[in-house]
Symmetry: none
Subunit: 498 residues, 2 copies
């Protein structure tokens, strides 16, 4: 499969690069899970030195002739070889075409802008953050130019997270979603039926931990190759050999730990399903953020918020928390699991309104990068659009435009992936139901291996062999289609709230 001598030569180099990047990744994990506060400055220095060394390997000039040879032999390459060459070219261009002073300035800005954002959010003072955000917008556009995408910088930024995806395509999806989901969310929010989430109180942390470990293990997460720890924010880090999930605990918000752990488990199952013998190259790496997010969302939502899932786990949940759940009927519990609420904060949102938060951000960053919206006008525009799309105006910038970390790091083009993930998850869900119609019965018996095997076969095993759209088309017979998400949300939520 990977026999071309230039590919072989690349693989050796990629292995070392990947060893270093996976260490960088571990340092990041450790920083959030273990690092004593006094070690922060040293950790920044460690990461700077290791990043520099990694960059030297990634811009090794002997890579260029190998890539040119492969590009001239293109038609004789296997699809696998093409995939490795394509991704290496992408990474190599990024490592070599960005001037050293641009890279240094960007790293400095990222750090300054992050701290400015933390301060600004604390003080609810957007004006203090605005100069940094302006520079991030400028530097993102400049970065796209260096890489030869000066004409369509936002497309380029989106492509960083979802290879092959374009703003125009996303705009098409999102206008369909907007037309359907705004009225759907209003109908649900207007319903007299309300979830009683406030009655879930006093769930001891150790018991929560034991329960979510049982759940994630049952779903198929392999603790022989992974672990779960506590961090401020839930995330999934590492790779198939060593997949590290994090969660956080609050005795009075037990469903947050549980579902965020299941969400991260979905990411982890994807990582653990990638071919371990190709981890150092594109064939053993995730397609992009959209597909990654489809895996986390599918396990979190389609699977774990289903009736069947709770047929199996409710008795165990009640056994673990007999007193805490005593006053709640099965229907109450199920409604709490599928609560829909009007909330200004994206990360606290349910799976219906979550998408609206993404539509808002997409509109805004498209305009920012397109030069149609000035940073100074951003808060007003955020609030106006928030009212229009989500149905609320945030009480402050702290709960509005300043709530997310992404833009402080210049990560424009990242947000759409979350919603792409939701759309792909729903599309995969209806496809697997077509192929295995009695699949939900498995869940009621605590069995998830048929679903996992299907995902392994259709998605995980291919690494980056197919781009997002190609992969979705190959598996489901059509490109990404927002109607599946709309159908899914209506199927699940309309019966619950009417």
């Amino acid at each position: 499969m990977l026999q071309h001598p230039s590919v072989q030569a690349l693989l050796e180099k990629l292995e070392k690069q990947h060893n270093l990047s996976s260490i960088l990744n571990l340092l990041g994990w450790d920083e959030q899970v273990n690092l004593p506060p006094g070690g922060a400055e040293q950790r920044a220095q460690q990461m700077a030195t290791l990043s520099e060394v990694h960059h030297q390997l990634a811009s090794d000039p002997t890579v260029e002739p190998l890539l040119q040879k492969l590009e001239s032999d293109w038609d004789t390459l296997t699809q696998q070889e093409q995939t490795v060459a394509k991704q290496t070219r992408r990474d190599y261009d990024r490592a070599t075409r960005l001037p050293a002073d641009y890279v240094a300035e960007k790293a400095k800005l990222d750090s300054q802008a992050y701290h400015a954002w933390v301060q600004a959010r604390e003080n609810d003072d957007f004006a203090a953050f605005a100069p940094y955000l302006k520079r991030q917008v400028d530097m993102s556009i400049q970065g796209a130019e260096f890489l030869g995408h000066g004409e369509n910088p936002y497309d380029y930024l989106i492509d960083l997270f979802d290879p092959g995806m374009k703003a125009e395509t996303i705009e098409g999806f999102f206008s369909t979603l907007k037309a359907e989901l705004v009225p759907l969310s209003q109908a649900i929010l207007g319903s007299p039926i309300k979830a009683k989430t406030e009655r879930l109180r006093g769930f001891p942390v150790e018991k929560q931990e034991a329960f979510l470990k049982e759940v994630t293990k049952t779903l198929g997460f392999d603790y022989h190759r992974g672990r779960i720890d506590v961090a401020v924010h839930p995330f999934c880090s590492g790779n198939a050999n060593d997949t590290r999930l994090t969660t956080r605990f609050n005795e009075d918000v037990p469903l947050d730990s549980l579902f965020s752990s299941i969400h991260e488990t979905g990411h982890g199952l994807y990582e653990q399903g990638l071919p371990t013998n190709q981890l150092h190259n594109a064939l053993g790496q995730a397609v992009g953020m959209g597909i990654h997010e489809s895996q986390s969302r599918l396990w979190e939502n389609q699977v774990s918020r289903s009736r069947e899932f709770w047929q199996f786990f409710e008795p165990k949940y009640r056994e673990t928390f007999p007193d805490q759940l005593a006053g709640l009927s099965s229907d109450d519990l199920y409604l709490a699991i599928n609560a829909v609420t009007l909330c200004p904060i994206r990360v606290d949102s349910d799976e219906v309104t979550y998408n609206l938060h993404i539509l808002l951000r997409f509109e805004l960053e498209k305009k920012l990068i397109g030069g149609e919206l000035d940073v100074d006008d951003l808060p007003a525009e955020w609030n106006r659009l928030s009212q229009e799309i989500i149905g609320l105006t945030p009480a402050s910038d702290k709960e509005g435009v300043l709530q997310d970390v992404h833009w402080s790091g210049g990560m424009f083009g990242y947000f759409p992936s979350y919603c792409l993930g939701n759309m792909i998850a729903a599309q995969l869900w209806y496809k697997v139901l077509e192929e295995i119609p009695d699949l939900p019965n498995d869940f009621a018996e605590g069995k998830f291996d048929r679903l996992l095997t299907w995902l392994r076969d259709c998605i995980h095993q291919h690494g980056k062999l197919y781009d997002t759209q190609d992969l979705v088309t190959r598996v489901t017979g059509e490109p990404i289609n927002p109607q599946h998400l709309i159908r899914y949300l209506k199927d699940r939520y309309m019966p619950l709230y009417q």
Copy 2:
């Protein structure tokens, strides 16, 4: 202090090297504390690649002319500059004379052999570990040869851990100790007075953890710059910015967790006392293992097994474990803390017989490295010498030759440091008592800052400015002298057991 332009140029390079070596150190910590078993192979690869990169920096050819310049200006250098130059020469020679493939192979072997040792110990199967141990012996001898010490590889290995120390000097100390401590331990073991350690049972792990955190914090360990976790083997890792201790818990052996934590805290206090503004060079780094071990032993034994220490902590201990300690008088408890027993396991041994375990290992590794003993014959020779020195034959290799991690990492020449540490600790102890005669009264009030300040001033602040023997002489007025340890053990144990 460090103004010579060549020293300045070195410092920049040393900073990057230290950043990478501290990452290697963290990877080692993570391997023992967090790594899922499935990640072992990847960790070996990560460490091999990072070691290779570190080796490239450490063998940077531009270092040689800087060192030569410093060596030609030697008499004009400050003592601090000489220290940095001397240590850099030492490290540089090690880096340039060891071929890159040797270094990479060694790093990989270290990781593989560690995992093989864990398995072998679990299965009591020395034969499964033997091939790795043979390779470690061979690679150690080979390493000494590369560095120009092919004639005296064991001296070279000892010097790695205790700069300036020789096997012959140690042999002199150890024959004095053997002559005095074998009869002392036999006398104690023959005494009708027996510690009732078996009555310490059922100490819940969380309470043990809380208590030992209180103790280690009171001793002065700074948790803002450090942490403590659970690992198979207690150790101290990291540096002054981020000092990581480990311990292990057993509900029925509570004193083990407590005293091993205090021991590691002693190491941690040394690390945290090194000058943080010099961490990247010799002035901010520990002298060697002997001095390091003197710090851990002094806090563990002279301080924390004293009557005064327990005057302060006994009430708190009883408050934490009222039921568990109910049947034990203060004298019973104090005797349990200073129990002397015939035990096959080094790390479970008391401070009297501990030294005998080191004498055993010193004899064996001297023969292994000297080519007088084959790895295959090691278990039999271990058992024979164990009977002669300690007075028992272990029931299995698990309790004998497989008990320690060190040799799996090729760390021959390390064990003697433990006993050097015991000797130095006793010597420092009598010195500080001479200078601050009422010091033990501090302990009875839960105050440890006068001792810590004395250690900071005499030992910690100097980094590697003095070699082991020079430092001991400077502080105590004489080189290492085993009589202090003998005096201390007799002072403490003869009244207790007669």
